[in-house]
Symmetry: C2
Subunit: 339 residues, 2 copies
DNA sequence: CGAACGCTAGTGACCGATCACTTTTCCCGT
DNA sequence: ACGGGAAAAGTGATCGGTCACTAGCGTTCG
């Protein structure tokens, strides 16, 4: 048994047993080169015998540099974040940082509090938030970057990308003969949800389309289901744009239950390209978001901020890619006419 | 405007400005009572003016007690963990601990390494793992508890619960006239996947059923899709048990594409009760897992270990609940041997 | 009235690492 | 053989808090 009596092994204990000074042991862990082979061997033996590992808390207190970044995830499961996290982690690692992914549960105020706590805790050098935060970054002693997907400011420029896709979708639907539209929105606390709604409404006006309006949703299947179920029978809606794939799934279910065929009577678009959408019947038309590109950009921005470097110029290609699957088709010829 | 020149504000600076000793400021943050109102007010004023918050790294170095627990999530999206995390967080908070949820990406070895690093970092008092870890808990200086869902040892006793559900499902299918079964398994690194497979095979023998065997899956929709697509046309399989809902969705898709009606020609069972399963067509028969109960139990066990208390006796009710939806029906051209 | 006690506040050591600086050792050229 | 300089190793201070102990002061009670 290595450690006896609940006593944590310290660098001094290792130094004592190896017959060297504590500083030499410290060097062993920070700059491997610059030690005589004999010395290194002595230390190595003791370290592996005691199974010693430096106390990172103590290290980071003295050294200031912890080499750790935190990625804040929302607790809502509306993100396919697995790939994204892998990418982020790898990128951070390549730059010499470790990425710790932290999920914070609770309402907006609690989450902002906890993030501020993380920021002032001294444990991290920078924070990357993947969810909206009602937080003034100036109150934080370390850089906080919000991903482009949710960042207000970035959306002023990123809006074009988002906008063009929503417009593209609607134009495509128009070319298939659709004329009456319906939008199931996401929570308006999310900039991305706000943006999609805004562009939807703008495009309706711009192209002179008819819209049955916008339903308030919350990303869930139920919200999509309810929205369609409450649609008047004579609304004439033939094209539905849902805020994400869950809502779209619910919408399709409700439509089928009302006896509307999808896509023969009504077309449905989702957003996010969740795994399940490919395998459901009908399979889901959706928008694949290149979250990797967004994440890459965000973490590069963060690392630059941590290092007090100039932020890298943002050069991303197309972020959103439209995927047409079975849930979208031509508008029914028989005009189920007006309200 | 608060902090000037990148200089972190320390407790001494606060003490100086408030005209008290650093220890008094420390008391202000640890034990609010025991300060004269006048003193407290002076400190409060300075604290809010400077926007000071204690450095948690320094605090936990001296105090040893960090009050923080880490919950390790797998990066695979096969868990509906949102509710669970809320529950865990609340329970921990009630016991005076803060729960930090950490997602670790990478293969098993990397993840074990990172967990060990977290354990020895001094930042946490205990670790709760929601994914399998190839790690010897004895190597960790702090308690590591794995949730019942994945823990080898617990499964020896928890197996009954799991087993009875798989058996119940199969018995139900038999009562509907099904005789030829097929199992799409999950990764065998997961104890839960192993257990389901084991019980499947046992029950096949026990009830004298015919089985087309077990396909190796990885929780994904694709693995379910491929498994069904590769099924020989004359296999005679009429009942499929998938390891989770994703695989089940893929299986249904493949079946439909081969011209098999679900559930008229073939019945499919999932596992996990994901949101989408309720809204897909056909809706998915599945098993709802009371992860909250599992999580509650696990975190209580962890906190007991951290405090060197006796572990609480495990008293959970039924964990798994079978949900029958449209994807399951009577066997085709029924030669029912029913009850 | 004084000793005992409780409450509030202060002093200096200490947690376990690294940093800055100093001392010792080693190697090499003349 | 020796001086010089680089490489290796050591010494003590330090990061920002809390802990253990002590000092001052007002209140209570014998």
């Amino acid at each position: 048994m290595a450690d006896v009596g609940d006593q944590r092994i310290t660098i001094h204990e290792v130094a004592r047993r190896a017959g060297v000074s504590h500083q030499t042991v410290s060097r062993y862990f920070t700059r491997i080169e610059g030690l005589k082979p004999a010395t290194r061997q002595k230390i190595e033996a003791v370290v592996s015998e005691l199974n010693y590992r430096p106390n990172l808390v103590a290290r980071s207190m003295r050294a200031k540099r912890t080499g750790r970044l935190a990625a804040i995830l929302p607790s809502t499961p509306n993100l396919t974040h697995s790939n994204l996290l892998g990418t982020l982690s790898a990128l951070a690692q390549a730059e010499g940082y470790r990425l710790e992914v932290v999920t914070i549960v609770g309402d907006a105020r609690i989450r902002a509090d906890r993030v501020l706590e993380l920021a002032t805790s001294g444990g991290f050098e920078g924070i990357l938030s993947l969810s909206p935060l009602p937080l003034d970054p100036a109150r934080s002693p370390i850089p906080i970057v919000t991903t482009a997907d949710y960042d207000e400011q970035m959306h002023c420029q990123g809006e074009l990308a988002d906008a063009s896709v929503v417009r593209d979708i609607m134009k495509h639907l128009v070319s298939l003969g659709h004329q009456v539209f319906f939008h199931i929105a996401g929570p308006q606390t999310y900039a991305s949800a706000r943006s999609r709604k805004l562009v939807y409404e703008t495009t309706v006006k711009e192209l002179g389309l008819r819209s049955h309006g916008v339903a308030d949703g919350d990303w869930t299947g139920r919200s999509g289901y309810d929205a369609i179920q409450e649609l008047p029978a004579a609304s004439g809606v033939t094209a539905v744009l849902a805020a994400n794939d869950y809502a779209a799934m619910g919408a399709i279910r409700a439509a089928l239950e009302r006896g509307w065929r999808v896509p023969d009577d009504i077309s449905v678009f989702g957003w996010d390209d969740f795994d399940m959408g490919r395998y459901s019947t009908p399979s889901l038309s959706t928008v694949a978001v290149d979250r990797e590109a967004l994440g890459r950009e965000a973490i590069q921005k963060l690392i630059a901020a941590v290092r007090h470097d100039e932020p890298p110029e943002t050069t991303h290609g197309p972020i959103n890619r439209i995927i047409i699957r079975e849930s979208v088709g031509p508008a029914p010829h028989s005009q189920r006419s007006t309200s």
